[in-house]
Symmetry: C2
Subunit: 244 residues, 2 copies
């Protein structure tokens, strides 16, 4: 990736002294929420599914954490949110829709889609981290909260990530299922018990596989989007134990 | 059970305005911790295993909750703590030790021991509840936190129990595994992932079986006694959502 510098494009003051700023880092669009107090530990958040950084639940979570003293950053990954989709992205989405409609297995389609996404997203997160930690008022250690596949690779390749919250709601490529054993940072693993697209046993096996001894599973009833709001508060307290 | 009245036998002021009082209710010995503020919602706590109300982790949990505004009560069940053991209790314990030493199955021994314990303990909890709710400064709704087997029967038979935290660390008799489907109050179900005496799959099946839609599983690493301290804090917040 071409190295460049972070540029703020807009800012919006929110309740509780929180400031929300849109930024670009080269071709990466992102949002940074900062609290009134400094220095603030940083949490990188990824959306569970589509990775659009303006998804309302993601924004609500970010504001909640920022109001409690964290700096929070979200970015759109290649092919997501504000970013252009490649022909391969469009093809994978079409394949997925067709397979789901036909009741066919979708693992290989997800593998062909999520595997490359992880490869592209993690260097972008690391470049974003470099840029954000150079800003005044933002300090380490750093937490990650979001999609499991990206989070596993980030946790094993980026030593500045000190704790992570993973949402067990999406496809985890074979490579990341292997890498799970190398994850040694404290983890909070969030599972929706009846997640339509995520076999429960596979998620429990993944939780079992993580190499860290400081891992906690929180499971709640309901489908993919049914995570209760109190899990956002539990997440902040988890990071409070490990980042502050 | 013979109806009688609650008698306080000693009291000890603790930090934060908390008062710990020993009591007897007929033959039932118990401890009541009350906060400085009133009215306080009541939490009944049962020890995970031996049901001794002076077990240090149980006492620490009780004091923690009382300092956060809850009244907390613990009692010793028949054959536990300060109470005499029957010949049948001694026999069951001897059978259990022998079977464990010989590597034999222990389910039927637990069934013969825990089944009758539930039958005896639940009426005692209900009588204790009558007596405690008649005291000034203690108000409903009521929570239960402790052993799963007793908690299931209490949750399905005692309408004043509004929320419960169950520790998935002991044998649950067949009758209570059936009754689990009738449990409709909010639940926090605590699982130690590598609990020596508690097959993980059986605990996950039980979590799945509970009839309530407001159930959350928290699983942590380690054996029976390894529950991290932050789960006491999570428990208080769970009750805060449902009792206050």
């Amino acid at each position: 990736m071409h190295v460049t510098s972070l540029r703020f494009t807009s800012e919006e003051p929110l309740d509780g002294g929180v400031l929300a700023r849109e930024f670009t880092l080269g071709e990466i669009p992102g949002t940074l929420w900062t609290p009134g107090s400094a220095p603030a530990p940083l949490i990188l958040i990824g959306h569970n599914g589509g990775l659009h950084r303006r998804e309302p639940r993601l924004v609500a979570r970010a504001r909640h954490s920022a109001a409690r003293g964290y700096a929070v950053a979200a970015i759109d990954h290649p092919g997501h949110g504000d970013r252009p989709r490649s022909a391969a992205d469009e093809q994978a989405r079409a394949d997925l829709r067709r397979a789901l409609a036909a009741g066919e297995p979708v693992d290989e389609i997800f593998e062909s889609f999520v595997g490359p996404l992880v490869e592209k997203a993690v260097p972008e997160w690391r470049a974003t981290l470099d840029a954000l930690l150079a800003l005044p008022g933002i300090g380490g250690p750093v937490g990650y909260s979001g999609m499991t596949a990206v989070g596993i690779r980030l946790a094993v390749s980026e030593p500045r990530i000190a704790a992570a919250g993973f949402f067990a709601g999406g496809y985890v490529p074979r490579a990341q299922r292997e890498e799970a054993r190398q994850v040694t940072i404290p983890l909070l693993f969030l599972l929706q018990w009846d997640d339509e697209g995520n076999p429960r046993q596979r998620a429990l096996d993944l939780f079992d596989a993580f190499g860290t001894k400081e891992k906690t599973l929180h499971a709640n009833m309901g489908g993919h989007t049914g995570t209760p709001w109190f899990e956002a508060e539990d997440g902040d307290r988890f990071f409070g134990r490990h980042l502050k």
